[in-house]
């Protein structure tokens, strides 16, 4: 019915969307153009991907703690799935180096590109952002749908690439060429398969496509295209569809975070798309963009390649995306944390403006720091001085943002519900991760820590107990918005505390291992090297903590699915929040708001002195000027 009102409120007949007739199941839940449905589609895909990444990580962690021991429970299954013993991935239930590398590369890729970004940017961005600015939908609903339906094939290709002969991509999530260009050359079984239908050349060509690394690249091209569509949509929506009165400085911080993120995706991703196309050319058309002449691989000089390319070029193009990408992961999470903190401290965010300008500065600066991942490539003093300086400067906005969030807590009346627990745990966890980024930023000491577990520790502290916690907070916070029911608080706490403890047990020892000289991507967890002897025992602690953490996710998954049907029913605004996302009818119809929305005030008017309740929604008209309110009260 609300749909009808929303549609009836305008009379443009040239318009294509007709929501009057009831939608079929397919167009309502599958090929939907409603930003809320698309948001949920993204969220579910992303959560499943996180799960996938988690499982891959556990297999890796088993191997790291118990190198050469057969994988319990699933060893044989994996062996069969990956082509048996002659597939060379898992033999007698024991993981082989190539499979470890594939898991590592895919864990990184899936977590970053299929898990965190789709959940933070695409799912929350899609679901929450239009609601928060009072828009009826995204600016281009069909583009939005197209974005999801380009994302999904990318995701499926990525996961299914485990099944092609030779296994999934195994050159790290960074896919450094020439390793990536020479790995996964056409596999015998694939050629055999295709030569049933095609000429020899055709079969070879198909085999150069159907292998782990090429599929990784193709999947990335899908994912990049999808996120380009998404980011155009997000920016246009934020700029054009803000409700009446929703001026820039009245936008909730989350909207700002998503806006900046969208710009990062928009401008940083295309060079990687270009690079991906070039690497695909290297693999399929035998060009050599990233390969110098005279490579000697597999017992022969690669004469079929012309050479003349540069391995550094790939690294530049990859990290030109790669660094902005980390803020793409971070910013939505910070946005969520800010929303949850404002709501659960019952007071306005402290330093809203510094948060906004800090994020914009972060966004701009993130384009000129990428080479801090490349200090070890033989960078000269001048250019490294430049990148060291920008990298140190970029830590300042992060400090400002984190400090503002911390100070926001002061003077509040803090409700420790599950979303809030995750949100405030984010602060020190991100603090540790961010602070350990500082030594990495200096090339001279970074060269000691480069590629060691210290780096792994650094970024996992930012992405796992940092960003993932932010996203958990978001899931718990907006769950009632989506389903009309709250998730169970007890199960939530049962999820939070063990996860927090395990996270630290997993990642804190990494700093020690890294300082002791242990390096990443070691299939045997460092057993080959004598220098890892004194810290090797940590591997076992970390692995078991990871397993326990998996058990700790079960309450979450249980909670997530059961609360849908028998969670505590709540009203439209269970958290007594001020932002517009909580002011729609429930369930929010296609078109979101019952009527035109007007915004009268900033986003976080909690505990306004003299107001009758401790929150004043953004769209609540100022019937009585404040002075009079006071008089009335007095």
């Amino acid at each position: 019915m609300q749909e009808a009102t929303a549609t009836a409120s305008h009379g443009d007949h040239s318009h294509d969307h007709h929501d009057h007739e009831p939608l079929s199941f397919w167009s309502k839940y599958v090929f939907s153009t409603d930003h809320k449905v698309i948001g949920i589609q993204y969220a579910i895909t992303a959560l499943l991907s996180l799960m996938g990444g988690f499982i891959m990580m556990m297999l890796m962690r088993w191997q790291l703690a118990y190198p050469g021991e057969s994988i319990p429970f699933v060893g044989n299954l994996l062996e069969n799935v990956t082509g048996g013993a002659q597939g060379g991935m898992v033999v007698n239930g024991v993981m082989q180096p190539q499979f470890y590398n594939a898991l590592g590369a895919m864990h990184g890729t899936i977590m970053v590109f299929l898990g965190v970004v789709p959940l933070g940017f695409a799912a929350f961005g899609n679901y929450v952002m239009p609601l928060q600015i009072g828009a009826p939908d995204m600016a281009f609903p069909r583009l939005n749908m197209a974005s999801f339906w380009t994302f999904l094939p990318g995701a499926l290709i990525m996961f299914l690439s485990f099944l092609v002969p030779g296994g999934a991509a195994k050159s790290g999530w960074t896919s450094y060429s020439p390793l990536a260009a020479t790995a996964d050359q056409p596999q015998g079984p694939t050629i055999e398969f295709f030569s049933k239908f095609l000429s020899d050349e055709g079969a070879l060509f198909m085999a150069s496509i159907f292998n782990g690394q090429s599929l990784w690249l193709i999947a990335m091209v899908f994912l990049i295209s999808s996120s380009l569509l998404g980011s155009v949509n997000v920016i246009v929506t934020t700029v054009q569809l803000r409700a009446k009165g929703m001026s820039w400085m009245r936008m909730p911080y989350f909207v700002w975070a998503i806006l900046v993120t969208a710009f990062l995706l928009l401008l940083a991703f295309p060079p990687l798309e270009a690079a991906g196309i070039m690497q695909l050319m290297d693999r399929v058309a035998h060009t050599s963009f990233f390969m110098p002449a005279g490579l000697y691989v597999g017992g022969e000089v690669l004469n079929s390649y012309a050479g003349g390319g540069s391995p550094l070029l790939w690294q530049h193009l990859f990290w030109f995306l790669g660094h902005p990408e980390v803020y793409v992961m971070l910013l939505p999470a910070v946005g969520i944390v800010a929303e949850v903190i404002a709501c659960n401290t019952r007071k306005p965010l402290w330093g809203y403006k510094s948060l906004v300008f800090g994020s914009i500065a972060l966004g701009l600066l993130s384009f000129i720091v990428w080479a801090h991942h490349m200090y070890m490539t033989g960078m000269g003093a001048k250019v490294s001085a430049f990148f060291q300086t920008t990298t140190t400067i970029i830590s300042i906005p992060s400090v400002i943002i984190l400090t503002a969030l911390l100070i926001s807590l002061w003077g509040g009346s803090i409700r420790f519900n599950t979303p809030m627990l995750f949100a405030i745990a984010f602060l020190p966890m991100f603090g540790i991760g961010g602070l350990t980024g500082i030594p990495l930023a200096f090339s001279s000491i970074g060269s000691y820590l480069h590629d060691s577990y210290y780096v792994i520790g650094h970024f996992h502290y930012v992405v796992a107990p940092g960003v993932i916690f932010g996203l958990f907070a978001g899931v718990y916070h907006w769950y009632p918005k989506v389903t009309g029911r709250k998730m169970n608080e007890f199960l939530g706490k049962l999820h939070f505390w063990p996860t927090l403890i395990c996270m630290n047990l997993i990642f804190a020892p990494m700093f020690i291992q890294g300082m002791a000289g242990m390096h990443r991507r070691w299939y045997d967890g460092g057993a080959t090297y004598e220098l890892s002897e004194p810290v090797l025992h940590w591997n076992i602690v970390m692995t078991w903590a990871a397993f326990i953490m998996f058990v700790a996710q079960i309450p979450f998954i249980w909670n997530f699915f059961t609360a849908w049907f028998n969670g505590q029913k709540v009203g439209t605004n269970p958290w007594n929040a001020t932002t517009l996302d909580w002011q729609t009818p429930f369930p929010a119809p296609h078109g979101n708001f019952a009527g035109p929305v007007t915004v009268y005030r900033g986003p976080y008017e909690y505990s306004v002195p003299g107001a009758d309740k401790d929150y004043t929604p953004q769209n609540e008209p100022d019937v009585i000027p404040e002075k009079e309110t006071k008089e009335v009260k007095a």
Binding site: Q388, T403, F442, H519, S607
Partner: protein
């Protein structure tokens, strides 16, 4: 102190002391920030728990202490940058000691999965190498040494083990013959990508003898985890003896400054001065 707490490897190179100091300073800086913020954080969430603070304060913190702290953070970071980071790196990449006198020059060639080390030999000049000469067999063919190059005749190529005399600056030209690797010696505080098609010099001065592990610090394929090299830092006498044992026999006159070691021509001539100088004879020969 913090370094040791984090179980850093024991330093074995001259510039490593500065690196360690810098690491220590950076970690203290981080620790102070972390403890400061965490204290504030814990106190705040304790004090403003809804049970203790039922009514929120609309205005919150009113002073600008945080801006001051942020300015200090900026200042300290500037000091770290200007005082440590720039000079240290500039020294590493720009102040490479001139080749020849008192300096050992080695060419490290990474491959899947191991290391070759190419020494210039007595003449102090590395023989020409070219991928087209690569063939299986002995290390010299493996790195594609051009046997027709006169400079190549006395060159030494070793597999896996790199030897260097203590207290002598070592320049390592790092490259790779297939994919990207990384020449990292944690104890020496050095790390350099081995990139095919490029040759990048790094240098360090070992101050302790012993065997150190050379780590491949860049994913390079299935054998990455076990692509270990050994950096064997020997006393000068030991190193010299080894170099001599490797040198090809040549019917040439013994050099004047050579020690009394008749059977082979000396590769290395130690000039013990302050324990830091060793001359790799580069004036004669060639």
């Amino acid at each position: 102190m913090l370094n040791n707490l984090l179980q850093i490897t024991q330093n074995a190179s001259e510039h490593g002391t500065q690196i360690d100091f810098f690491l220590e300073a950076a970690h203290w800086f981080m620790l102070v920030l972390f403890v400061g913020w965490t204290t504030f954080f814990l106190y705040t969430i304790y004090r403003f728990w809804q049970r203790r603070s039922p009514k929120a304060d609309y205005n919150g913190v009113q002073n600008h202490a945080s801006s001051h702290i942020e300015i200090y953070v900026i200042l300290i970071e500037a000091v770290l940058l200007l005082g440590f980071a720039f000079p240290l790196w500039a020294k590493q990449v720009n102040k490479i000691p001139p080749e020849g006198e008192n300096v050992l020059k080695v060419h490290a060639i990474a491959y899947q999965f191991g290391w070759f080390f190419h020494y210039p030999g007595e003449d102090g000049v590395l023989g020409r190498k070219n991928p087209i000469f690569i063939s299986g067999g002995d290390p010299k063919s493996q790195v594609g040494l051009d046997r027709s190059d006169p400079f190549a005749a006395d060159d030494i190529v070793t597999l896996t083990v790199m030897r260097a005399p203590v207290n002598t600056p070592v320049i390592v030209d790092v490259t790779s013959r297939d994919v990207i690797h990384n020449y990292a010696v944690a104890h020496m505080r050095v790390s350099q990508d081995a990139i095919p098609g490029m040759r990048v010099p790094i240098w360090f001065t070992p101050i302790r003898t012993g065997e150190f592990e050379i780590i491949c610090a860049q994913l390079c394929g299935a054998g990455h985890y076990s692509m270990k090299g050994i950096l064997n830092i020997q006393t000068q006498a030991e190193f010299q003896a080894w170099a001599e044992s490797q040198a090809p026999k040549k019917p040439q006159a013994v050099e004047p400054e050579a020690p009394a070691d008749p059977p082979t021509e000396p590769e290395v001539t130690p000039v013990e001065a302050e324990g830091s100088a060793v001359a790799i004879s580069s004036t004669s020969g060639s």
